[in-house]
């Protein structure tokens, strides 16, 4: 059994003192917790600042590298634009040499040309070809007008010539517009005016991607 010998006033003072200390300790604990949380937060912020600075530095380095290499991008852009211009400019190119060769091969031995005139229709909307036998086919890219004579008569001379025109690659829709019997010296001939149209297979398409391959 214990006996409290202190006066009651002293006991209340001690109790109040203990409560005051307890209150201060509670507040101190709270502030320590808050301070610790703040410290953690500030540490995190500090780490983020470092991360940001490092990232900014890397970006600055990359940006400088991009700037130093930009000349190659300009070169590539210039090449692309130049290729587009070249492709557009030469889109209509036809191998005239090949067409003339095929035309020569297609002429029967009995026939000769006195005039040949080939002309492209301009796909860019410019000058059109001769106003003859309008063909709205999309493949119609040009026309050959030929004048000549055959030492044979209408058949088989002109007939064979027209048939062989139709067999030449890149040419189609052969059309005889005029034929008449004549003579060169003592040799009877049949003179003719005809035309044949070129289709898209006559195009070289060499410039379809711009610069053609070297040697082609």
């Amino acid at each position: 059994m214990s006996v409290n010998l202190l006066p009651e006033r002293e006991e209340r003072r001690l109790l109040a003192q203990r409560r005051g200390i307890t209150a201060v300790l509670i507040l101190a604990a709270l502030w320590i917790i808050l301070g610790t949380l703040l410290l953690l937060q500030l540490t995190t912020v500090s780490q983020r600042v470092d991360t940001r600075d490092e990232a900014a530095q890397r970006v600055a380095v990359l940006q400088a590298e991009v700037t130093s290499l930009a000349v190659f991008q300009r070169m590539a852009d210039d090449a692309r634009a130049g290729n587009e211009l070249l492709a557009y400019a030469m889109a209509d190119e036809v191998s005239w040499a090949q067409v003339l060769l095929d035309l020569a091969r297609g002429v029967p031995d009995s026939a000769s040309f006195t005039d040949v005139n080939g002309q492209l229709l301009d796909s860019r909307g410019g000058v059109a070809g001769q106003d003859v036998f309008v063909q709205t086919d999309a493949d119609d890219i040009g026309v050959f007008v030929v004048n000549g004579y055959t030492t044979q008569t209408f058949t088989p001379g002109l007939e064979e010539m027209l048939r062989r025109f139709g067999q030449i690659d890149g040419l189609f829709q052969q059309y005889l517009s005029n034929a008449n019997v004549d003579a060169i010296g003592d040799v009877p001939v049949t003179r003719f005016d005809a035309e044949v149209r070129m289709d898209a297979t006559a195009r070289t398409r060499r410039y379809i991607d711009g610069l053609p391959e070297l040697g082609k």
Partner: protein, 238 residues
Amino acid sequence: MTRLLVAVVLVALLSAVGWWFGLQAPAREQQAALDAEIAELQTQETQLSNQVQQLRELELRAPQLRSDLDRLSAYIPPDPDQARLLELLQDAGNAAGVTFTALSFTDPQPVVDAPVAATPTVALGAVTVTGAIESTYFQLMDFLRRLEIGSSRAILVTQVGLTEGEDGFPALTATFTAQIFALVPAPLDPNAQPEVEVEVEATPLEEGAARATAPPDPVGAQSAPPEDEVQVSMRGEG
């Protein structure tokens, strides 16, 4: 006892509120802003890294690009460069054995609807060249073949005509029409606002100055007709 408890709670509450709004929340906002900044920088870094990689690949291709640009500049030069064209035609003519009798050139005209050039102040222009040559049929074929394959200039032959030559078959007189290309000053935008001409009550001395407000003539609307041709004649060696 109750007062102390209330005081402690009040102080704790005030401390927590002050801590939150005065210290913690700004720090969290700063962190959020930094996170956003870091994310943005990382995105930039990724994009720039890809860009650098592409540019490095272009750098490796630089010799090829330079070669392509040189060739493109030869195919479509920055001016009509008629001197080199004459050299090309003459070389092709000599090799094929044809003889030039005439050449004519129209003024350069911008090509309608052509793609945009690398430099916006210039545009694709075309010069129509008309030529007359004396040759045989197969010499002409050879000449045209050399223009198509052997020429380092973009030459678009659009018309070929053949007729019996003055000396009789197999000599032929051939004509050809071709387009050559060059970069020309870009036409002015027709939709651009014209300069406003201000009518001024002018004394005789001021009249000349008051009239000088007309917009410049665009290249595409030159007053000179395309038929303005320059005639030259040349003789081949073969």
